[in-house]
């Protein structure tokens, strides 16, 4: 992206580059300038940050009992 200011349709496509910290400094400034003036895009950024937090909430997978029993046997042998 160069020259023109970002519009909202650009912002939703570069938001991951922004969050990943890989934007060129002038694009970063352009992005932040847009967000200063645009509640819709500010909310969009906040929603993406919420998505990252929600996806990252830890879940404990249930391990099939026979698999766990087999692995524990290996662990006991290893500890030996």
């Amino acid at each position: 992206m160069s020259g023109a200011e970002f519009d909202c349709e650009d912002v939703v496509e570069v938001v991951t580059d922004y969050l990943e910290g890989v934007m060129a400094p002038e694009d970063r400034r352009r992005f932040e300038r847009h967000l200063n003036d645009c509640d819709g895009c500010l909310h969009y950024l906040e929603q993406m940050q919420a998505v990252i937090r929600l996806v990252g909430r830890p879940t404990v997978e249930s391990v099939p009992p026979e698999t766990m029993a087999g692995l524990l046997r290996k662990f006991r042998t290893w500890r030996g």
Binding site: E9, T16, V22, Q47, I52, W78, R79
Partner: protein, 225 residues
């Protein structure tokens, strides 16, 4: 280009990793059970990604645990324990895929496919070309700040997020799981999945955008109801 923002979150072993390691080396079964429960799903998903066959993927995960135990004394803490273990799974799965003469799913990924090119947001939500404010929101997203915590953090919302992740194309799913569930860095995810940095980011972007869309629909419905 500016330097990427450094992300050390998953690049070295944490205090918790080192404590867990200590308990494992003392032979504490509870520590081992905790490790297996926290990693089994991620290991299986990663093996599935390379192999596409659940039975073979399960065998690879079993073999990976044998490898983990054999090499545990050599773990030096230069990555997180999680990354180190997932790397063992990835290496075994890739070797097994070659043996099974199976083409790796991402050899086709150097060119991303159609699903990875779709817009992040439905174009209908922006003012069309020709309008004075073309490219700006016609239907802007609302703030989730006023979504009640008990809804945002509910089991139902959690289940909706998981459904959205399961519904993703496999490569997008693999990337978002490693990055946002397992907390790996971009470089680590690229290594484990055999992706370029640019493609990894495109896939992460598409995956997060799709999950956001699903969640927006869900939260709008839930609050109207």
């Amino acid at each position: 280009m500016n330097a990427p923002v450094a992300d050390f979150s998953a690049t070295i072993a944490s205090i918790e990793d080192l404590e867990l390691l200590d308990r494992l080396r003392r032979g504490e079964e509870a520590a081992f059970t905790q490790l297996v429960e926290g990693l089994y799903g991620s290991m299986l998903r990663l093996a599935m990604f390379h192999l596409g066959n659940r039975a073979v993927a399960e065998e690879v995960v079993q073999d990976a645990w044998v490898g983990v135990l054999r090499q545990l004394d050599r773990f030096e803490g230069r990555s997180s324990l999680r990354t180190w273990i997932l790397r063992i799974v990835s290496n075994l799965a890739k070797t097994r895929a070659v043996r099974e003469r199976r083409t790796l799913p991402f050899s086709s990924l150097d060119g991303l496919d159609e699903q990875d090119r779709e817009p992040a947001v439905d174009p209908e939500r922006f003012l069309p070309a020709g309008e004075r404010w073309a490219g700006h929101w016609s239907s802007p997203p609302r703030s989730w700040q006023d979504v009640p915590e008990e809804l945002l953090l509910s089991q139902e919302t959690r289940a909706e997020v998981e459904r959205a992740i399961e519904a993703l194309p496999p490569t997008q799913r693999a990337v978002i799981v490693l990055r946002d569930v397992d907390g790996l860095t971009a470089a680590e995810a690229c290594e484990l999945l055999g992706l370029t940095d640019g493609n990894q980011r495109v896939l992460l972007h598409r995956a997060r955008s799709r999950v956001r869309r699903a969640l927006e629909r869900y939260l709008d419905d839930a609050q109207v109801a």
